[in-house]
């Protein structure tokens, strides 16, 4: 697959403005980033991941409800059709009865709200004056309440990109959902550890005009969020959904893109999928298959196929399951219309059947248009005759327990009819190749939002905003520029601008006389290198708290610790030892050490006296753990015979 995937992405210019502009390519991002709070958003559970065996499980089901505008949401109804049993895995230490939906929410975590306001300010958003907690319905079971508590904090922000503004539509503060463990047939299993972790959702307008731009802006926004110093890091702490549309198509969401670079190929092929579906619609219309001319029939054909040679079908008939044949009138060959690399329109049907009818053992449909897929040509001929299918018709077989097979047949008709009308607004998951996508659910609309009656609105006071404004991290690009003015090398300045210690760096530079480049190196590069070494020898040590870093570097500034000595002491600190940054050796100490070393190595003679001195100075610095001042040492040594 790797070679195949390579073929799909190389030789494509993902920044070909002419091509994408002709297509009408538009892309927007939704970035979900967990906040680095100690506790969850609406209860007092600690945030944390679990991979051990759950302590307990409970079982629930979901039903759709009305929005306050008086309508049902389409996704909600679709997900209701799937009739899933939802199992939640619980942990005593970081899941309480709130996550179980057996206790109402506690007041919103104010630390999280502060962080969200800070980030909204960084993005130049207009803050709302009163935060209203809203319920966003999710009937897939990923949240035990059936809705996510979410609140808009700011709207209408922007970030600079390629000399223009990428508009930020909104920033919301919301609780994270469960992690899916397993989804088979009518049972879905969720782990609740991640549930209710505070996160910000940043939504951009569809201002990215090529797949390359989408990936770059995603990267940029990620940097910006990290620069806030308020977000969690590590696998699964940031996720992005990418919205794609082209001329004539509606928004489709690709959910949970795992890596930023994948955005390029995924959005490219998604855009081509839209184009293919638009072409298919034109072809259908040409054949007179229009919204009014669309005809489809559903036949239960279990009896007609009871002697089928297909062992899978025969086995399921024996088990009392049924087979439906959907006749799509006049569709001959069109189901074979390619929509994505090596995938045809049949994949669109199979996706719906898999998700909505819960028929997830693939293949879950057979397409019969003369080639006898799954049955043999003769059996297809026979079936066609029996149900009165014309030569230009296409049959789609779907099978399973009676209720599911019926749902499957109905979904095939619904999806086929949509192909005649529009490109459905779907949420799609990426396939393992990170190029193609598959159906996940109907894209929810505003009707799934309704106010949370369990929580009162929270007014954001002027004083609070002023306090946070003073506290908020500057934008990374502003920071980077400032760091470069301090003569910090460009790459180091870029890393530092989004580093968790950037805030500390700014403070130390302000309050001490430390050399900026040295401090930047220590905080960014040394920390990383030392931690990497430690991991190599199997040590797992948590990073020192900010306060201990602060007092360490302040002490270093006070006693003007030499670079080398600082490194040694810093290493100790990271190993969890009580380390004091030392000063230079006093004149007496240095003299004594020089004498000792000169005696020790009295025999060592290099070609020139200069080289011998170099060696001795190095040795003295090593023995003093960096505390010997090189120039002074050299001067002292040179006075010896």
């Amino acid at each position: 697959m790797d070679a195949w995937r390579k073929k799909l992405i190389e030789d494509i210019d993902f920044d070909d403005k002419e091509f994408y502009s002709a297509l009408g390519f538009k892309c927007g991002l939704e970035i979900h980033q967990q906040l680095d709070t100690k506790k969850k958003l609406f209860c007092h559970c600690p945030v944390g991941y679990r991979n051990d065996e759950p302590d307990a499980i409970i079982l629930r089901h979901m039903r759709p409800t009305l929005s306050e505008m008086g309508t049902y949401d389409g996704t909600a109804l679709m997900e209701f059709k799937t009739k899933k049993q939802v199992i939640y895995q619980l942990y005593r230490d970081n899941v309480c009865t709130y996550e179980m939906d057996d206790t109402p929410p506690f007041p919103m975590n104010q630390e999280a709200l502060d962080y969200a306001i800070e980030i909204a300010l960084m993005l130049g958003c207009q803050l709302v004056d009163e935060v209203h907690i809203t319920r966003k319905q999710y009937l897939d079971g990923s949240i035990p309440t059936g809705f996510q508590r979410t609140a808009i904090i700011g709207v209408d922000g922007w970030i600079p990109y390629r000399g223009r503004k990428i508009r930020i539509q909104q920033l919301a503060l919301e609780e994270d959902a469960c992690r899916e463990v397993e989804d088979r047939r009518h049972t879905i299993v969720f782990r609740t550890d991640r549930l209710s972790t505070p996160l910000v959702e940043v939504v951009t307008k569809p201002d990215m005009l090529t797949p390359h731009e989408a990936a770059e802006v995603d990267e940029l926004l990620g940097r910006l969020l990290r620069a806030s110093g308020r977000v969690r890091r590590g696998i699964g702490t940031a996720r992005q959904d990418v919205n794609v549309s082209i001329n004539g198509s509606d928004r489709v969401e690709i959910k949970g893109v795992p890596r930023t670079p994948d955005i390029r190929a995924l959005t490219h092929y998604e855009a081509l999928r839209h184009k293919a579906l638009l072409d298919l619609r034109e072809e259908l219309h040409k054949r007179g298959i229009t919204p009014t001319g669309f005809r489809a029939e559903d036949h239960e054909v279990t009896g007609l196929l009871k002697n089928t040679s297909n062992p899978r079908l025969r086995a399921l008939i024996d088990e009392g399951e049924v087979i439906h044949a959907v006749n799509l009138k006049g569709w001959r060959e069109l189901i074979r219309h390619e929509t994505q690399p090596a995938l045809t329109f049949a994949a669109e049907l199979a996706g719906r059947v898999r998700v909505i009818a819960c028929l997830d053992e693939m293949p879950n449909i057979f397409v019969l248009d003369g080639r006898g897929e799954g049955l043999g040509v003769e059996a297809e001929e026979h079936l066609r005759k029996e149900i009165g299918a014309a030569e230009e018709d296409t049959l789609v077989l779907v099978w399973g327990p009676a209720e599911d097979a019926l749902t499957g047949a109905q979904e095939i008709i619904i999806r086929a009819k949509e192909a005649v009308q529009f490109i459905p607004q779907e949420s799609r998951q990426h396939m393992p190749d990170a190029c193609r996508t598959d159906f996940e659910r109907i894209l929810p609309g505003p009707d799934r939002m309704y106010p949370d009656t369990d929580s009162a609105p929270v007014a954001i006071s002027k004083e609070r905003v002023e306090r946070l404004q003073a506290d908020a991290a500057p934008c990374p690009w502003d920071r980077e520029e400032r760091y470069m003015k301090m003569k910090i090398p460009e790459h180091l300045a870029a890393d530092l601008a989004i580093h968790p210690s950037a805030r500390l760096f700014d403070q130390l530079i302000e309050e001490t006389s430390l050399n900026p480049t040295l401090l930047a190196e220590a905080l960014v590069q040394w920390q990383k290198a030392i931690k990497r070494d430690k991991r190599k020898v199997g040590l797992n040590i948590s990073p020192p708290y900010e306060e201990s870093l602060e007092s360490f570097f302040k002490a270093a500034a006070d006693c003007n610790t030499p670079r080398r000595a600082l490194y040694y002491a810093f290493e100790k600190l990271l190993y969890g030892e009580n380390a004091e940054p030392p000063s230079f050796l006093s004149g007496e100490e240095l003299k004594a050490l020089c004498k000792k070393v000169a005696r020790e190595f009295a025999d060592v003679r290099y070609k020139t006296r200069e080289l011998t001195l170099d060696f001795l100075v190095g040795e003295i610095i090593e023995q003093s753990q960096g505390r010997a001042e090189p120039a002074k040492t050299r001067f002292l040594l040179s006075s010896y015979p």
């Binding site: 759950p54 302590d55 307990a56 499980i57 409970i58 079982l59 629930r60 089901h61 979901m62 039903r63 759709p64 409800t65 009305l66 929005s67 306050e68 505008m69 008086g70 909600a76 005593r92 009865t97 179980m100 939906d101 057996d102 206790t103 109402p104 207009q126 803050l127 709302v128 004056d129 009163e130 935060v131 209203h132 809203t134 319920r135 966003k136 319905q137 999710y138 009937l139 035990p144 309440t145 059936g146 809705f147 979410t150 609140a151 808009i152 709207v155 209408d156 539509q169 909104q170 919301a172 505003p446 009707d447 799934r448 939002m449 309704y450 106010p451 009656t453 009162a456 609105p457 007014a459």
Partner: protein
């Protein structure tokens, strides 16, 4: 406030500003503020909220609040009033199915949301119920009657009496079962009251509610309603019972005898528990499985005894150490006729209360003793304190729950005020309010953390 109010829920400063700008709720607007322009629909505001903000529904579906003092202008661009209505369809009638009457008292069993106050408004006509829970039509033919629209804390004697009389009328009219939609907080009070007021019913009388209102996808309302309707329509247990979640998982419900049930958690789904005994049955939307044999079976006759009366000069006194005599004295002074004490341990109070209690008994007030431990029996012979109290004339009420004793005493006092007769009626069991024996599994509060319990929890059974 007037339903036609153009600024529903807004008051004070916010109302003034909006009035001045010519704004109204449900208008699609463009609001210009000193921060920029916001577009959306003006929503009604909760009356409890402050008078400094206007609520705007953005087109993404989110709500936000804007400070009215920052607003420069409001431009109305359209008008879109919400029609918050559960799709109403005619409830199908099938002569082969049993007939059930659903009596509504309020509560959240089937409801819609009032975005203005955040309150939940009951959806109640058969059509609305069918729209919300279409599965009901598979179970029975449903007729509904709205008796009241009150939260359960506002249910009281007058409501008990009306409900009991309505039940009598419906039974006479030939109904196959009765379901009562009720708020959960005082459901067990009502269940006890109806047990005393509707005696020997020939059909099931099922009280049902929900712990998660039906405006939530995770609501227990639909499942409870289906279980209750089935228990009423087809169940063979003709008693007053509460039908609520068994485990917190939605797998089955329990049918609790109306006199032995109590709400035991402020928010859990599985909050209702039978105390000092086992429940009558488990049930699902299709089945009722008895857990015991000593229930009153369904009958064909219509011989029900409606005895609906109540004297509300009754109080519960929840005893605490250092309680002062004036608590009892104030009840005497205010003309109370009955006092139920929830005493400590086996049924005790401190010495300073003896005097006013003696006085109460002397004045003809019936004083009953129950236990605040909820589980177990009153036993006043074990310690001197108990014997002293009985000497004063206090009647030990065996293992009657304090709330049940309160309801029963109110009901008894409406029959007689003679202390001896009151005591006799109190101790004569109508249906399970006193049981002669407590089975070994009548008291089970498992403690988490124990390995064998953790094993049980891992199987998802609680």
């Amino acid at each position: 406030m007037d339903e036609k109010d153009q600024l529903k829920g807004y008051r004070g400063r916010a109302r003034k500003v909006l009035e001045y700008m010519g704004a109204r709720v449900w208008a699609e607007v463009e609001i210009e503020t000193d921060k920029g322009i916001f577009e959306g629909i003006i929503l009604p505001r909760s009356e409890q909220a402050d008078d400094l903000h206007v609520v705007l529904k953005l087109f993404t579906g989110y709500n936000i609040g804007l400070a009215v003092d920052r607003i420069k202008s409001i431009k109305e661009k359209g008008f879109r009033k919400a029609h918050y209505k559960i799709p109403e369809q005619e409830f199908p009638y099938d002569p082969a199915k049993p007939n059930v009457t659903l009596l509504g008292t309020g509560g959240t069993i089937a409801s819609r949301l009032d975005y203005r106050t955040g309150a939940v408004i009951p959806a109640f006509t058969p059509g609305e119920l069918y729209g919300a829970v279409p599965e009901l039509a598979d179970i029975c033919n449903l007729k509904t009657e709205k008796l009241f629209g009150v939260f359960s804390e506002n249910m009281g004697p007058a409501e008990y009496i009306t409900t009991a009389k309505t039940i009598g009328r419906e039974i006479e009219a030939g109904v196959d079962g009765i379901v009562i939609g009720h708020g959960t907080d005082t459901m067990h009070h009502t269940a006890a009251a109806l047990t005393f007021m509707v005696q020997n019913p020939p059909v099931p009388i099922i009280i049902v509610g929900s712990q998660r209102s039906s405006d939530r996808p995770s609501s227990d309302a639909a499942f409870n309603l289906r279980c209750a309707s089935n228990a009423a329509a087809r169940g063979h247990i003709a008693e007053v019972m509460v039908c609520m979640f068994g485990p917190t998982s939605d797998t089955y419900n329990l049918l609790h005898r109306g006199t032995r049930v109590r709400k035991m958690h402020s928010s859990y789904r599985s909050t209702f528990r039978t105390i000092s005994d086992i429940p009558v049955a488990t049930c699902t939307p299709t089945e009722v499985k008895p857990l015991r044999k000593d229930f009153n079976p369904r009958r064909k006759d219509r011989q029900v005894k409606i005895d609906a009366r109540f004297d509300d000069r009754v109080a519960i006194v929840y005893y605490y150490p250092a309680m002062k005599p004036d608590i009892i004295e104030s009840l005497i002074d205010n003309g109370y006729k009955g006092i139920v004490i929830a005493g400590t341990g086996l049924g005790h109070v401190n010495k300073p209360l003896y005097e006013p209690l003696r006085k109460a008994c002397k004045m003809g007030i019936s004083v009953m003793m129950t236990v605040q431990t909820l589980w177990g029996y009153v036993q006043m012979f074990v310690y001197d304190t108990g014997r002293d109290l009985m000497e004063l004339g206090i009647v030990p009420c065996s293992n009657m729950l304090p709330e049940v004793a309160y309801i029963k005493l109110g009901w008894v006092l409406a029959h007689t005020e003679t202390r001896e007769e009151v005591a006799k009626m109190m101790l004569t069991t109508v249906n399970g309010e006193i049981t002669e024996r407590e089975p070994h599994d009548g008291y089970l509060i498992f403690q988490g953390g124990l390995p064998e319990i953790e094993e049980f929890l891992k199987r998802g059974l609680r």
